[in-house]
Symmetry: C2
Subunit: 228 residues, 2 copies
DNA sequence: TAAGTATTAATAGTAATACTATTATTTTTG
DNA sequence: CAAAAATAATAGTATTACTATTAATACTTA
């Protein structure tokens, strides 16, 4: 797995960036250190000026890669969802049993990222934390509709769709497969956040993981006579 | 109901504001027009300067009520959750049947606000939209923990707790009542957002409401032998 | 290898944001 | 009516979020 993901190049909508950050050393440094800096000070306080200082580059050089920090966030989160999607497809591909397949899928999208593929410049553990803390900000904007039209969220949408399809495979009669898929995907981020900051609003802790909770939630709804 | 809510004064943690906006005409204008302006241009573009122009007051006068726009958002959303809580308690109080009570509660927290109590200066329809679009931004910050400690989110937490209690009343053996309560509360906002901006990620539309979906979701999990 | 072309860095500058401080004016209230 | 409180006006600051221009460096190919 590690060795296959090694050469992974996530395909990101090329309108998100001005110049492909994968195409140069500076570009990779921008991506690498923006993850460290956003994790450190939060997206709201993050600026290209501060990033420039961190990487010993000029602010204006960063602007040649990304129009603004919002686009950079879209880039990072798209990369994350693409990376998760890859794991999802790779891991579940060979599973023929629908229930087992869905279980595995939920595991992947609800777990905490614990391993960082040290060879690449992207720290997946920190990126996972950034997605938990900042992803909502990428779409809770006045520009969502036009950015959505431009395909900036397509990787995320494709991922949710894959889960929806797996839900349908388990129970073709269930009425809300799409909402359930989006609830799990977004809800997982939320439960992780609550676990870290509002422990009184979640049952998740060291023992009970969001994975346990969501597997239970999903399978309670599927093939349930209450539904028919 | 209308007439009882009329005199409602939501009790908001007084560290959120510098001076109680309910205590003066200017304060009420700040609240009233900030709702209109945030709805219009979004919280990210909203500034005290723009609000000042809108209400014909000086920027610096607004700063005497709220430290910054983040605190104002905390105020508005706290008001909203307090208002919802009031409706929840008022409506479910007299219901003795646990299932019926929970059903009603889910209805209240997942429905779209459609009526505005025209007597007050607060437009609840727009405030509901603001909560859908901006609430996450109030807690996805580096300051969450200290602000949480200061009680800035206590109304929201109390609301989620009430739902948790109702879930427990229906099924004392269900293992994740708190997570389920927070999933419904936050998930409802999310499904409304998806309905408006990412229709491919939800089954909710004009016919199927988030209420329908979440009532189904919750009751599939409760008193379900799959759980035991 | 020289010349041309990208790329990046450095510098400077702008409009807007997010405030703070001071003083003047108006309103409230005792 | 006088004092106190509230509000408005003005000015100012540091930072943000950029844009534009020019200089320096590296890379490429005739």
């Amino acid at each position: 797995m590690k060795y296959i993901l090694q050469d992974l190049k996530v395909n990101i909508n090329n309108n998100i960036y001005l110049k492909d950050p994968e195409s140069s050393t500076l570009g990779k440094k921008i991506v690498e250190f923006s993850i460290l800096l956003i994790d450190e000070i939060g997206f709201d306080s993050f600026t290209f000026k501060k990033l420039g200082v961190k990487i010993g580059s000029n602010e204006s050089s960063i602007y040649r890669y990304f129009e603004n920090k919002h686009k950079l966030l879209l880039y990072l989160t798209s990369w994350y969802w693409g990376w998760l999607e890859y794991q999802l497809v790779f891991t579940t591909n060979s599973i023929s049993d629908a229930k087992e397949k869905l279980t595995k899928a939920i595991e992947i999208i609800t777990r905490t990222t614990k391993e960082d593929s040290s060879f690449s410049h992207i720290n997946e553990i920190l990126l996972n934390k950034i997605v938990i803390n900042e992803y909502s900000k990428s779409y809770l904007t006045k520009e969502v509709d036009s950015e959505n039209k431009d395909g900036y969220f397509s990787i995320y949408k494709r991922l949710v769709n894959r889960i929806k399809d797996m839900i349908k495979e388990v129970d073709g009669d269930y009425k809300y497969p799409t909402s359930l898929a989006s609830t799990v995907t977004e809800g997982a981020l939320h439960q992780h956040f609550l676990k870290d900051h509002f422990s009184s609003l979640t049952d998740c802790d060291e023992k009970i993981t969001p994975t346990t909770y969501f597997i239970n939630l999903v399978f309670n709804s599927l093939n349930n006579q209450k539904n028919d």
